[in-house]
């Protein structure tokens, strides 16, 4: 009886220590949660994993996550992305460590893939141009591009440069752009300013960005009367 008492007394003491988030509960019941915050998750399909543990599917637009399985104090955790969401990439910050308390400092940063929005421009015959058709400004909401006279094409892509004007490349060495449209986002191309000497209208200017760039926006300009 005595040993039983003391054993249960000890185990409840350990449990108390664990419940208080203290460490040194080796061999005790796992009771520390592993989780953290998520940024930029707009797509479904994200699956996280802690070590060799079970998958944790995370729905789109989640801002936080916590694994269903608890770990013990002083256990190692290693949270990784098992599957990226559809058309997005997620990276883990502070994913690895050893628990002392509930782990809530892991950050999953997700970036949705984005694609170029571009198209072609048909100008009036040179012979019908009374003046250089300068000043056309096309915009997709707040993103505006000024079009040079008689330019046959346009894009909303704008190369990202550093403070010295050098193009910024991504980890694979590819140039990076602003003005791209996220996979799944709507776009609407409008004429913010008509050029001198011509009147332009947009067809195929509205839609939702899919998994490939949109290149079929057509701007047709006719000689202004």
């Amino acid at each position: 009886m005595k040993s039983l008492y003391s054993r249960s007394g000890l185990s409840s003491l350990v449990a108390l220590a664990c419940a208080l988030g203290l460490s040194g509960c080796g061999g005790s019941t796992p009771n520390l949660a592993v989780g953290g915050s998520i940024t930029g998750l707009t797509k479904p399909g994200l699956v996280l994993k802690n070590g060799d543990g079970p998958d944790l599917p995370v729905p789109a637009y989640s801002a936080s996550f916590v694994f269903n399985e608890y770990i013990r104090a002083d256990d190692e955790f290693n949270v990784t992305v098992k599957t990226d969401p559809t058309a997005a990439h997620c990276t883990v910050v502070n994913g690895k460590g050893r628990s002392a308390f509930n782990v809530n400092t892991i950050i999953i940063n997700c970036i949705t893939e984005s694609h170029e929005l571009s198209g072609t421009i048909v100008w009036p015959d040179k012979a019908k141009q009374t003046t250089d058709p300068v000043g056309l400004i096309l915009n997709n909401g707040n993103n505006a591009v000024t079009i040079a006279a008689n330019s046959p094409a346009f894009t909303f892509n704008k190369p990202i440069t550093d403070s010295t004007g050098k193009p910024v490349t991504d980890s694979t060495g590819k140039a990076t752009y602003s003005g791209q449209v996220d996979d799944g986002s709507a776009y609407g191309v409008t004429v913010a300013q008509q050029p001198a000497g011509a009147t332009c209208s947009v067809t195929n200017g509205v839609g939702t960005m899919g998994t490939v760039p949109v290149t079929n926006v057509l701007v047709t300009c006719v000689a202004a009367p």
Partner: protein
């Protein structure tokens, strides 16, 4: 010699922001403005004023300093005499920072934050009779779902009032906006008739008109050799039964586009038969823009 030493000690004390050096310690009222892009911000306190000009149009932080010092123990309480154009500035901490007593802290450093004014984009949709119209301002300017507005009181000539809309995300001064129709409503075809795009100035854009039109209830007529046929739509608005008089030799008929009920169902029947003929309606019931068979009216001698 002694007095020189004393003066130097006092200056040192003043430099350290200490008081009680014969005369009182003096303090400059200084601060910084973050986000200032446009002229002209004017501040005042203790009978002085200072004009703060932007460093550039990116809103790079600028410092300011009032021309004269105030003495230890003097109260200061900055106010905005003039806000910059297109912007609204406020004190970061109006309780403990933009007012106080000189000497409470070693230096007076007032923090001001300026944001660019924003204005909404909106307008009215005329003749909208069905749900689903979705307007956008580019990819990140928000989405407005516009619902039809029944006229009050309901009338046959104009069963729907113009439906107002405002995009949910306001646009900062000088930023571009452009209204597009992402999705058409269920039973109407809408077009933007106002100026859809431009650069935001100092007032809300509330006049981008969108107008919608719905296919009228119409069909074909055969064998109508005399006048006198009148058709009715018995599924129209409550307490009303729109009619259309079909003249002899007509091959088509059409109700007015508003002569339908709000659920957009129709039920076309013969109201008056022409003399000597019996006309029958085929496919007279359906809903506008459904894939229902075309309505036809066949007349023959009775």
């Amino acid at each position: 010699m002694t007095s020189i030493f004393l003066r130097a000690a006092c200056m040192l004390a003043m430099a350290l922001g200490l008081s009680a050096c014969g005369g009182k310690a003096e303090f400059k009222v200084t601060g910084l403005v973050s986000g200032l892009k446009y002229p002209t911000l004017k501040l005042s306190t203790n009978g002085q004023s200072v004009t703060v000009l932007p460093a550039d149009t990116n809103g790079t932080t600028v410092n300011f300093s009032f021309p004269n010092t105030i003495s230890y123990g003097d109260e200061y309480d900055l106010v905005f005499d003039t806000q910059p154009a297109h912007q609204s500035c406020s004190f970061y901490d109006p309780v403990n920072n933009s007012k106080g007593v000189a000497g409470r802290l070693a230096a007076i450093n007032v923090v001001i934050i300026c944001g660019v004014s924003t204005h909404t984009v909106g307008g009215k949709v005329s003749d909208l009779t069905s749900t689903g119209l979705t307007l956008i301002n580019g990819s990140i300017g928000g989405t407005a779902l516009v619902a039809p507005v029944p006229a009050d009181p309901v009338s046959t000539t104009a069963p729907f009032a113009p439906a107002p809309y405002t995009l949910p995300i306001a646009v900062p001064y000088f930023e571009y906006y452009g209204l597009s129709i992402l999705y058409q409503p269920l039973y109407d075809n809408c077009t933007i008739t106002g100026k859809a795009a431009g650069q935001m100035l100092d007032t809300d854009i509330a006049d981008i008109s969108v107008s919608c039109a719905r296919d009228a209830i119409a069909g074909s007529v055969t064998g109508l050799t005399v006048d006198g046929l009148t058709l009715k739509n018995v599924a129209a608005l409550p307490n009303t039964t729109p009619t259309v008089v079909v003249a002899k030799d007509a091959t088509v008929f059409s109700f007015g586009k508003d002569d339908v009920n709000k659920d957009v169902a129709y039920d076309v029947q013969v109201a008056t038969q022409p003399a000597g003929l019996v006309c029958t309606v085929s496919n007279g019931t359906g809903t506008v823009k459904s894939t229902a068979l075309p309505i036809s009216v066949a007349c023959k001698a009775g």
